[in-house]
């Protein structure tokens, strides 16, 4: 058949904007198979696309049929989506199934997209958190448990099955065109809530840069856990200002008040369990990834915020 077989990669979370960016970068040199638990997306005739739950038996058939070389797992359900139970099933049990199957079918490269939320926003966080810092998110909210558990699981597999070559990426806030996470929704809205008197430092990475980072991570074989963030920082309220958002201050003390207000409001982009991330900074140190993978983000913060300023749409 073909002399040099093109690498065959399973890409999860294919309906997301980030996955589609990754796919567009890899499709030229790799054979891709796209899956998503939400919907079946059409990605062209050469990329088979499935809407499938990792916990269903049919998932294994994909591994049998396509003989993957690698997996890029971006299918983590974000904490603003679905119910806690469904998230746990998909993110923790589903990922475990995926890793078990990867091991069973001899996959040699796995990249898992995690989030900086796992560090947890605590008042006593130092800045420039490194990868070996404790994951404090579980102490803050039950809603972040699945994110932390997913990481723990990936970590166990990282050591138990070194052949899988697992790389876990913990990016800062991913923003840019098409991104539907909570922070991107806030930046693109006309008015965004802020906690009165709190404007924590934040980091943002452009979706194109993040896609580059994931592709680099896949191509260069360095297993381990890496933060991904540019060496640039901005305070949350300043970022809103640069995006042309009006700020809606929510009383911040005593701590129970903002929690009650947010529960009542029920905003998807500003949920009560992410409250502390708008209060205390979680500034991560992305230098280890930059060094190991020779990665340098190309899109500056100013350009990111200009995009949001020029593309305002109501919540």
């Amino acid at each position: 058949m073909d002399q040099a077989r093109r690498p065959r990669i399973l890409v999860t979370g294919a309906a997301g904007a980030l996955a589609q960016q990754v796919i567009s970068r890899l499709r030229k040199d790799c054979d891709l198979v796209a899956v998503d638990f939400r919907e079946q997306v059409y990605l062209g005739d050469e990329i088979p696309s499935y809407c499938i739950d990792f916990n269903k038996r049919g998932f294994e058939d994909l591994f049998r049929r396509y003989e993957f070389d690698g997996v890029i797992h971006m299918g983590r359900i974000m904490s603003s989506q679905e119910t806690r139970m469904r998230r746990y099933n998909a993110n923790v049990l589903g990922t475990q199934r995926m890793l078990d199957l990867s091991h069973k079918y001899g996959i040699t490269r796995v990249v898992i997209l995690s989030t900086y939320h796992v560090y947890g926003a605590v008042a006593y966080n130092p800045a420039l958190i490194e990868e070996d810092a404790p994951l404090k998110a579980v102490g803050l909210s039950m809603d972040l448990i699945d994110s932390v558990e997913l990481e723990n699981l990936a970590n166990i597999y990282l050591w138990r099955y070194p052949d899988l070559n697992i790389t876990i990426l913990r990016p800062c806030n991913i923003v840019g065109p098409g991104v539907r996470n909570s922070i991107s929704t806030l930046l693109s809205s006309e008015r965004a809530p802020v906690l009165a008197g709190f404007s924590p430092m934040m980091q943002f990475i452009h979706i194109d840069d993040m896609a580059d980072a994931i592709v680099l991570a896949y191509q260069k074989d360095h297993k381990g856990i890496y933060n991904v963030a540019p060496e640039d920082w901005v305070a949350y309220q300043h970022a809103l200002k640069l995006c042309g958002c009006k700020r809606l201050p929510i009383p911040s003390v005593p701590p129970l008040v903002p929690k009650l207000i947010l529960k009542t409001l029920g905003l998807r982009s500003f949920p009560p369990y992410l409250l502390s991330f708008f209060k205390y900074p979680v500034v991560i140190d992305g230098r280890a990834f930059a060094r190991a993978f020779d990665f340098k983000p190309k899109r500056p913060l100013k350009a990111i915020f200009r995009f949001y300023r020029e593309n305002k749409k109501p919540i």
Partner: protein, 271 residues
């Protein structure tokens, strides 16, 4: 015009703007560093502190040129006076010196980040949560860091205990040794008299989650402040026991004590 740009236009003359811009800082494209230091906010802060420093406390700083012009350095001082005014004044002394000014960073109490407005304001002015990781990363970044090893034991001191040094933590010595940072001892005289407290209202402090609630008059007295900077002290990075570290800490404490005595002797009157 927003409040911040209004304040800036009123308070920050072009010369100051340029002066602060000249002090090179490792900041990102929007003027922030990872700890929240902001180049624009610091200009307003500088201008306001100038009034406090020159007119209100009429600070006399001696030996500020002993702080090295570059590289990591720990500025270690005695803490006093309920509010962290001493850190502010030491910072300004260094930022306003003629010869190669530096914008130092102060390590602050752990409860500040939880206070709305104030926490962010302090961060923008260069103050940083007093965490050993923060201090280490800053020294690795070649910053000048102001440390008060007495912590709240020092700042919450009562008037009757003035100018008695409390126990020093050893953390700063470990970091100075690891990052080969010289230690510049500073004796602060005068801040004890700014908010003389007769007692600490512990139950209220506990209820509010504050380190202390001083019983004092609700005024900050314009006591004259003397800052005496000592010669830089270098400690080698040998593997020594905690007892030996404590001995080195005692050396620093002794030189701060001597600098305080010098300040008290030089002082003609309280105000």
């Amino acid at each position: 015009m927003s409040l911040s740009s209004f304040l800036k236009s009123k308070l920050v003359p072009a010369s100051l703007d340029e002066k602060v811009n000249r002090i090179r800082k490792p900041i990102g494209s929007l003027g922030y560093d990872p700890w929240g230091y902001n180049n624009e906010a610091i200009k307003v802060g500088y201008s306001l502190t100038q009034q406090l420093y020159e007119k209100y406390f009429r600070v006399e700083a001696e030996g500020v040129d002993k702080v090295p012009a570059e590289g990591p350095v720990l500025i270690v001082a005695n803490h006093s006076g309920q509010l962290p005014l001493d850190g502010l004044l030491i910072g300004y002394a260094l930022a306003s010196r003629e010869n190669k000014p530096r914008m130092p960073r102060a390590m602050i109490e752990r409860f500040f980040p939880t206070v709305p407005y104030l926490g962010n304001l302090l961060n923008e002015m260069g103050a940083v949560l007093g965490d050993p990781i923060n201090c280490a990363k800053m020294l690795a970044n070649n910053e000048a860091v102001v440390v008060f090893p007495e912590g709240i034991r020092g700042s919450g001191k009562l008037y009757k205990d003035r100018y008695q040094l409390k126990r020093f933590g050893n953390g700063f010595m470990h970091l100075a040794m690891k990052y080969k940072a010289p230690i510049v001892p500073v004796g602060v005289v005068g801040c004890e008299e700014t908010i003389p407290a007769i007692a600490n209202f512990k139950p209220l402090a506990h209820a509010l989650g504050l380190p202390y609630v001083p019983i004092a008059l609700p005024v900050v007295f314009p006591a004259k402040v003397h800052l005496n900077f000592g010669d830089p002290m270098m400690f080698d990075d040998t593997d020594i026991t905690e007892d030996q570290i404590a001995e080195r800490v005692e050396q620093v404490k002794a030189s701060i004590s001597a600098l305080i005595d010098k300040g008290l002797n030089d002082r003609k009157r309280l105000f």
